[in-house]
């Protein structure tokens, strides 16, 4: 029945098949890591191309049109295909373990979510080879995105639609997992903060992504089927797109940053050997940020002409978010206060985050000041702001989280020396790249400029910025080397190498695929730490040893996503020739067919008998 018993010594084909069909959250985490990592490198290379082009005025490293494609794809790739999947990798790897669950609520959907993301991302990037990538900015403002020639923006629309569906599924999955699958005793107010942020973020996904879905549909209808939503000559209104995009887009940035806050809230207590300061306030602040995040979207539209009343309201509402975020910053500082702080790579990223993100948040409040934003908007000041929060917040968190949970995911600790080299070069390069951009912006350099003109005193700043980007690239390469070195040379460590506090560290290494032989009984916040202070090594079981019910692997999620991928081409090219409709129908047929199969074929999963448990664990 189960093929997983044989995972150890299988050939390449078998491993591949295993990953294509897996529904195990830990393996899906690895898939997300590979996918997200790949796209991060791709987006990073695009960033380098941007910086090379801008190293001198009137540069012709790339043409204007190509620059726009690179710039658009950099933003789109980084946000949708790199940052979010990498965060999902951490959430998948950690959340079920942190709440004491055997798997997520919907293992099948978990796999489907990943494959949708993967195929959406691939579809989007196919555009490079098929006549040009999207070139209307990651925000794809209409009507530019409607009139943009070629198929680039069509790939944007369908690629994001498909991967967006995957994200929505993942969001619902985490919500239900966290609500229904917590181990006995794990009340809401005992959940680790990473779980809490995952929870809130999943809710944000649930309510934010539908707006993007509709926006993308409208854009697709306008581009591919001749409707007039954004076409002024048919009475359409392009501002609708801006609203829909930002109703999604602003919560999206908190979707990125909240899990990052979650990571730091795990790393900092562990390496300060102290309980998180103000846990309740941290939870409250997380929820509040999520809530407020829905009410500020129009701060991206101060210059659209919404009128002074709307601008004022959104400006003030936006500033309000500084308060809960400040609560978090100070709580981290006071977690460190009085602690026994051990500084290693994971901790370095977390410490580096505090000043970096604070600067980014503060420029956030500055751009929220509407009359000042008339100057900042669409200038490099905004580029500086959001890279400070995204790189200084999200990317730092991903690095911190990977260093921290690598031993849980792969059984080995990443090399410390290489880790520190990565941190210092990346950190230094990051500030070098983006600090100067604040000034460039106010000196009159608008963003999304393929070239800037000579003699405007913008040269020096751009050179500095480009140098910084290369330092970051150096750091990133060292990290890749680190992974290779660790994988080939690193030593296996125990299940709890950091003297951790939360449940995931209560499981031995390697993590058995059913996670917990017996579900643990949670007795408070920092469940493992409580047991440790009382002299025990592990948690008391909450149930007798019994058969364990596990889901079956399935290839259907892969096929379902593949169907949509194929259908995507049909949608895009049917405008050129109706015979492409056949492709559309084949693709949709595959997808609906697999849905049908899934629906009529009973899949009860399988049981691991308690007698086999030890053997299964290997």
């Amino acid at each position: 029945m189960s093929s997983t018993t044989m995972t150890q010594k299988q050939g390449f084909a078998a491993t591949l098949w295993d990953y294509l069909t897996t529904v195990d959250h830990k393996k899906i985490a690895v898939l997300y890591l590979i996918g997200g990592g790949f796209f991060f490198i791709l987006g990073g290379l695009e960033a380098l191309a941007i910086r090379i082009q801008l190293i001198q005025p009137n540069n012709d490293f790339v043409s204007n049109g190509f620059y726009n494609e690179i710039m658009t794809m950099h933003g789109t790739t980084m946000i949708f295909l790199a940052a979010m999947p990498l965060i999902f990798a951490l959430m998948n790897a950690v959340v079920p373990l942190q709440i004491g669950a055997r798997d997520v609520a919907f293992p099948f959907l978990n796999s489907l979510g990943f494959w949708l993301f993967a195929f959406g991302g691939i579809l989007l990037n196919c555009s490079w080879f098929l006549g040009g990538a999207p070139d209307a900015g990651w925000t794809a403002y209409a009507p530019l995105s409607v009139v943009s020639p070629g198929h680039g923006v069509d790939f944007y629309v369908l690629g994001l639609q498909i991967s967006g569906a995957g994200t929505l599924i993942a969001g619902i999955n985490f919500l239900v997992t966290i609500i229904n699958m917590r181990a006995p005793g794990m009340t809401y107010m005992r959940m680790p903060l990473f779980t809490w942020t995952t929870f809130v973020v999943s809710a944000l996904i649930l309510f934010a992504f539908p707006a993007l879905t509709i926006g993308l549909f409208l854009l697709m209808f306008d581009r591919l089927f001749g409707s007039g939503f954004f076409d002024a000559s048919l009475g359409g209104n392009s501002i609708i797109w801006e609203h829909l995009f930002w109703i999604f887009g602003h919560p999206e940035v908190y979707i990125l940053i909240l899990p990052a806050f979650g990571v730091f809230s795990e790393v900092i207590p562990t390496f300060s050997k102290k309980r998180l300061f103000g846990y309740t306030a941290m939870v409250f602040a997380t929820v509040l940020i999520g809530f407020l995040g829905f009410m500020v979207w129009a701060h991206h539209m101060f210059t659209v002409g919404m009128g002074p009343a709307a601008n004022s309201i959104f400006a003030v509402a936006t500033m309000a978010i500084a308060v809960p975020t400040g609560i978090k910053i100070f709580n981290w500082l006071f977690t460190l206060w009085g602690g026994n702080i051990k500084i290693n790579s994971a901790m370095l990223w977390s410490l580096g985050f505090i000043p970096s993100f604070t600067i980014g948040g503060m420029t956030g409040v500055m751009v929220a000041t509407a009359p000042a934003d008339y100057q900042y908007h669409d200038s490099y000041f905004v580029v500086a702001h959001f890279h400070y929060v995204i790189v200084g917040g999200v990317v730092f968190a991903i690095f911190a989280g990977l260093h921290y949970w690598w031993p849980k995911m792969f059984g080995k600790i990443l090399n410390e020396t290489l880790g520190k080299i990565t941190f210092w070069t990346f950190f230094f390069g990051f500030h070098l790249t983006f600090m100067i951009q604040h000034f460039l912006g106010l000196m009159g350099m608008p963003r999304r400029y393929a070239v800037y003109l000579p003699n405007q005193e913008l040269e020096l700043g751009n050179v500095i910025s480009t140098i910084g980007a290369f330092l970051m690239a150096f750091g990133a390469i060292v990290f890749v080397i680190n992974i290779i070195v660790t994988t080939t040379k690193g030593e296996q460590v125990s299940g709890d190498p950091w003297n951790g506090r939360t449940l995931e560290w209560a499981i031995p290494n390697p993590v058995p695929h059913y996670n917990f032989k017996q579900l643990p009984l949670v007795r408070g916040l920092d469940a493992l730490w409580i047991e440790k202070t009382e002299g025990r090594k592990e948690l008391a079981p909450a149930e007798p040893l019994d058969d364990i019910h596990m889901p079956n692997p399935s290839i259907l999620p892969f096929v379902m996503s593949l169907g949509l991928f194929i259908a995507g081409f049909g949608f895009i090219y049917q405008v050129d020739h109706p015979s492409w409709l056949i492709v559309l129908f084949i693709g949709m047929g595959i997808t609906l067919g697999t849905m049908f199969i899934r629906s009529i074929k009973d899949d009860h999963g399988h049981h691991i008998h308690k007698e086999d448990l030890d053997e299964e664990a290997r």
């Binding site: 049109g65 530019l144 009139v147 400006a315 003030v316 503060m362």
Partner: protein, 369 residues
């Protein structure tokens, strides 16, 4: 709004002196050295939050550094377990309350300034100009004065001028950092903004909303002249007779250029005089421009030459990818060559209806710098 804020601004500018010396941007481009009312208001609201932010940042960094120095793990202390504090109500209230106060300090002037900058009470009496953003050039229509022009926006100093802004295609954004912050031009609805220049000068404008391949080449200029000079300019522009654009004593090339201009249907897209233009910039005072198509040549302080103009007429797409002149019929017309272009250029360059040119916009900031 003014008063003490003004003083802070002076202080700030002084303290930025070093920075200015090392360059805080081109004087007629940067937002750091405002030359107009909008830019001043914005700068006030850049400085005030910045001061607050620097304060908050210093507090955060003070705690941060202290904590790291004081509580970093010491040798032999690896197993020390510190006290597991849960929280501290007083502290938590403090760091909730103080930020709220600080934000209020920012929020109040923000709201005031937002309404101030949207004030339209004097619109009826003021000079109104209709601004149209096009891929990739700007059109200015002085409706009441019956003047049409493109690329260069002439305004009088010291008074509010209202801009009514629309786009003819995709969204653009009107930004002249040293005069005022930006405002979008949307295809379906008109936006209004006022500008007020304090000093004469030529100020660089940029398109700040992503609008396609030549987004970064969609420059324009505000030419602020004294009110008297502005009067003169208006009168001169109103006097233009589209039929009589060639001077009596013009060279033969110019005369021929005039005819070629019609022959190759340039006039289909480019109006001369006050008739509204459909597709391309109005060329009435083209001879007074400092740039061809807003950016050519691209080095900022250089004036275009005839060579540049001929080059533009022959290869518009190369110089401004994706611009709409690429569709012009003459480009695929075999009979059109360098010679024709040169004659047309001669004609266009003598279109100088007004004695007021960018050179009149005060010293220091003009192209001849």
């Amino acid at each position: 709004m003014k008063g003490w804020m003004g003083k802070i601004r002076v202080l700030f500018l002084l303290s930025l002196l070093t920075f200015i010396l090392s360059g805080c941007g081109k004087e007629n481009l940067t937002a750091f050295l405002p030359k107009g009312y909008g830019a001043e208001v914005s700068l006030d609201l850049i400085i005030l939050p910045l001061v607050v932010m620097v304060f908050v940042f210093l507090v955060v960094m003070a705690i941060f550094v202290f904590v790291l120095v004081r509580f970093r793990q010491k040798k032999g202390q690896e197993d020390f377990i510190p006290k597991q504090t849960e929280g501290n109500k007083v502290l938590e209230v403090v760091w909730t309350a103080i930020p709220i106060l600080l934000l209020l300090i920012i929020a109040v002037p923000t709201v005031q300034a937002t309404f101030d900058l949207a004030d339209e009470s004097s619109k009826g009496d003021a000079l109104n100009i209709n601004v149209t953003g096009n891929q990739y050039w700007w059109h200015f229509n002085y409706d009441e004065q019956d003047i049409q022009t493109s690329q260069d926006l002439y305004i009088p100093t010291g008074e509010r001028v209202y801009l009514n802004m629309m786009s003819s295609d995709v969204i653009h954004s009107f930004w002249v950092p040293s005069i005022t912050g930006k405002m979008d031009t949307n295809p379906e609805n008109e936006n209004t903004m006022y500008i007020e220049a304090n000093e004469e000068g030529v100020y660089y404008g940029k398109c700040a909303e992503f609008c396609g391949p030549s987004h970064s080449l969609m420059d324009f200029k505000i030419i602020a002249v004294s009110p008297e000079e502005f009067e003169t300019w208006v009168a001169d522009m109103q006097n233009v007779d589209p039929e009589e654009t060639v001077a009596q004593d013009a060279t033969e090339a110019v005369q021929e250029g005039r005819e070629l201009f019609d022959e190759y249907s340039c006039i289909n897209c480019h109006a001369i005089g006050s008739s509204p233009t459909a597709i391309g910039p109005n060329l009435t005072n083209f001879g007074d421009r400092t740039k061809v198509a807003g950016v050519i040549p691209s080095a900022v302080d250089e004036q275009y030459s005839k060579e540049d103009l001929v080059n533009w007429i022959l290869n518009p797409d190369e110089l401004k990818p994706g611009n709409k002149m690429t569709d012009a019929g003459y480009l695929s017309d075999e009979s059109f060559g360098e010679e024709e272009a040169s004659k047309i250029a001669d004609y266009l360059m003598q279109l100088q209806p007004s004695e007021i040119t960018p050179d009149d916009a005060g010293e220091g900031l003009t192209v001849e710098q």
